[in-house]
Symmetry: C2
Subunit: 106 residues, 2 copies
DNA sequence: TTGACACGTGACCGAATGGTCACCTAACTT
DNA sequence: AAGTTAGGTGACCATTCGGTCACGTGTCAA
């Protein structure tokens, strides 16, 4: 399994994306803290966090018996750079801002 | 199935990422043209292109009996924006440039 | 109009995936 | 020391997924 395969496979599950959302909102959470946010047993959460960690999307820091989780934005940015070049980036960013503005007005 | 689920599922398969790579290198290809680049029957390629199209990652234009495929960068950018805020973006971009520079020197 | 060509559909199969559970280790608390 | 808390492991099962195949539709060229 290649590195990028691990990243994309990790992102393929809604539960794992939700975990990333949680960490994006606030970093440094423990597994137990995140368990309460998912409708799933702790085993499921543990499994998902392991997949995210092995993909490098989440990095961990041990503190006693706790394991603190942090979001790593680097792989996400690399996905972006794979299919969006510098030139296109400007146009797309503008387009999305415009779309957001229109949606807010309606 | 939600929109974003379709996008991430579409990106989860290596064959489909390869198809996006082909379209990133050069847009407007037909299905038949791309078949020769994959070690797979045309049915597989057709199926993958359909998944990419339904995810909005690829948009098509019909021309007679041919179907021309174009890469749509918008969903990719939205992935980026979901987990990378404006502030972090600068740091990450710098970090990746630095990493690339170091790898080129070695 | 006949045949070749580009593409679509639905069924099918082996492999991988999401989630659960029984059981386990390590660290903190009192 | 004993109980509690945070987390890890390997087996298991239902479902999904990647890829193939037989067959069908519409378009172009001679």
């Amino acid at each position: 399994m290649t590195d990028d395969d691990r990243v994309f496979k990790a992102l393929a599950a809604p539960s794992r994306r939700f975990l990333l959302d949680l960490l994006f909102a606030r970093d440094g959470r423990t597994q137990t803290e995140m368990e309460s946010e998912l409708e799933m047993t702790r085993f499921g959460v543990a499994k998902h966090l392991k997949v995210l960690e092995e993909a490098g999307l989440v990095v961990v820091r041990r503190s006693g018996r706790e394991k603190l989780h942090y979001l790593n934005p680097v792989p996400i940015r690399q996905i972006h750079d794979r299919w969006i070049d510098k030139y296109t980036e400007k146009h797309v960013a503008t387009l999305i801002d415009l779309k957001r503005t229109l949606e807010e007005e309606s």
